[in-house]
């Protein structure tokens, strides 16, 4: 077990917890509301398309299952990166963070491929209800993934500057990890509601 000391604030706070980490959890809570609204819009409009193409004509479960697996494994890589920095291994932090970012890029590549395929089939964001709600929901999720990838690679670059990414400052990696895992749990919900239960 990793004995962590990230909850010890550098200066006293009213909660006794690190404010950055608490702020990240508050942000993730607000992002739950944001994605809740987008998912609600998708669920309400589901099955009400007047014109095709319809979800059953487009959705490719084997392909999306692989994308889902890739994103789940990126979460594993992220916790391994956090464990690396918490145990003082900068090398392991870099390897696993790069792995996380690359898996994120693979996921994004899959999403771009899927969007392109759907567009070739005649679906656009303004074509029907499915197009509007699907592209908005998965597009915002993809944007979150892209921001996460940029954040991860920025941390790797920062780690080459002495003192920026250290065991003592591992909370910064943990906060980035929280964001990354959130992107993963949002996809867990999207995969079930949008793909498996279309």
């Amino acid at each position: 077990m990793v004995d962590h000391a990230m909850e010890i604030p550098e200066h006293p706070t009213s909660t006794g917890l690190n404010n950055v980490k608490l702020a990240m959890w508050a942000f993730l809570a607000s992002d739950c509301m944001f994605f809740g609204s987008l998912i609600a819009a998708y669920m309400v409009s589901k099955g009400r398309n007047v014109v095709g193409p319809y979800p059953e004509d487009l959705i490719n479960i084997p392909f999306t299952s692989v994308s889902t697996f890739v994103l789940l494994m990126s979460s594993l890589a992220m916790v391994m990166a956090l464990h690396g920095i918490q145990t003082g291994s900068l090398a392991r932090f870099r390897i696993w963070t790069v792995a996380t970012g690359l898996l994120g890029l693979v996921f994004l590549g899959g999403q771009i491929y899927e969007f392109t395929e759907f567009a070739h089939e005649g679906l656009s964001i303004s074509h029907n209800l499915f197009g509007s709600t699907f592209f908005t929901l998965t597009g915002f999720h993809g944007t979150h993934v892209a921001i996460g990838v940029i954040w991860l690679f920025s941390m790797v670059l920062a780690s080459f500057k002495p003192g920026l990414v250290t065991q003592r400052k591992s909370l910064n990696v943990e906060v980035a990890g929280l964001y990354w895992h959130f992107v993963d749990i949002v996809w867990i919900v999207i995969f079930t509601l949008v793909y498996l239960l279309y």
Binding site: H4, H11, G16, A29, S75, I185, L193
Partner: protein, 106 residues
């Protein structure tokens, strides 16, 4: 379990240690198995009428595993859990309310 506290009048904060890599890998294997199970259920015609009742709990289980172990909510201070559950409840409430309003329940 690690117990932390600091001076300056702030409350005592009790924390548990995070899992080790072996536990992280075990969770990843479970997540992969559940995903494979979900996809298998999607293709089983006999379960077509029940897929919602099977897939939603499986999805919830994956969600809980990631939040609990990878995001460390199981081990961290409960204030983080309460903060997240508040947002999650509002988000989930919006989904259920709108689905009920538009008569779109599962």
């Amino acid at each position: 379990m690690a117990s932390t506290s600091h001076h300056g009048g702030a409350p005592h904060v009790e924390e548990h240690a995070h899992p080790d890599p072996r536990q992280y890998i075990r969770i990843a294997v479970v997540l992969a198995i559940i995903t494979a199970l979900e996809v298998a259920i999607f293709y089983i015609k006999a379960l077509e009428d029940y897929d919602t009742y099977i897939l939603l709990p499986l999805s919830a289980l994956k969600f809980i595993l990631v939040v609990g172990y990878y995001m460390h909510l199981k081990f961290d201070n409960k204030l983080f859990t309460y903060t997240f559950i508040f947002g999650l409840s509002v988000g989930g409430g919006v989904i259920l309310s709108l689905m009920a309003l538009f008569d779109r329940m599962f």
